[in-house]
């Protein structure tokens, strides 16, 4: 089975802190994604990566950056956390374009 793991299930950070969220997949997938999920807003794509060191902006990239130095690992970085970034963050991966996306369990981030 495909496994996508995220570094933390719950995280509490202070405004202005730099926050790293890590995601690892174990199935040699090409594509990796970061979403945030908020009530009533569904899943919104922040960034995705289709190869090592390659990235594309999603629908809401402002305030975020990403890093993919190894194929299996995709990191989401909040350079200076703000309260409006309090959310559930979901990582996903897919084998190739058009293939199903497999999700991790999510990280619930609270910024105070």
């Amino acid at each position: 089975d495909v496994k996508v793991t995220q570094s933390s299930r719950y995280l509490v950070k202070r405004t202005g802190e730099k926050v790293f969220l890590e995601c690892v997949q174990d199935m040699d997938h090409e594509n990796m994604f970061w979403y945030r999920q908020d009530p009533g807003l569904g899943l919104r794509l922040i960034y995705f990566s289709y190869d090592v060191k390659m990235k594309e902006k999603g629908d809401i990239p402002e305030g975020y950056s990403v890093s993919r130095e190894k194929k299996e690992r995709f990191s989401l970085i909040l350079e200076s956390a703000s309260t409006n970034q309090t959310s559930m963050y979901l990582c996903a991966s897919s084998f190739t374009a058009g293939a199903p996306q497999y999700f991790g369990p999510g990280t619930r981030l609270t910024v105070t």
């Binding site: 994604f33 807003l41 569904g42 289709y50 199903p100 999700f103 991790g104 999510g106």
Partner: protein
Amino acid sequence: QQQVKQSPQSLIVQKGGIPIINCAYENTAFDYFPWYQQFPGKGPALLIAIRPDVSEKKEGRFTISFNKSAKQFSLHIMDSQPGDSATYFCAAPPNAGNNRKLIWGLGTSLAVNP
């Protein structure tokens, strides 16, 4: 911006009922329509998917029907059970040549009462 419009936002049925969730899309070039199921505290998981060259696909109690002329696809859950209570999302790629990412519906919260 292309959209996928999902309805209803929430749904309550009795055990054994057949909830139906609808999604309407705007772009005729969509070539892959997945449905995802999400339980509380978990990430979404692929439930079933359909390509537009077929009008219906069944997997167990779950059926997707696709109406290309109406630009709609629907999820039917036969003989629904309390364990089906979850949030369901439809999705589609933005166009036939760009299916690395998906456009998501806003989700339908389904409650199946015992």
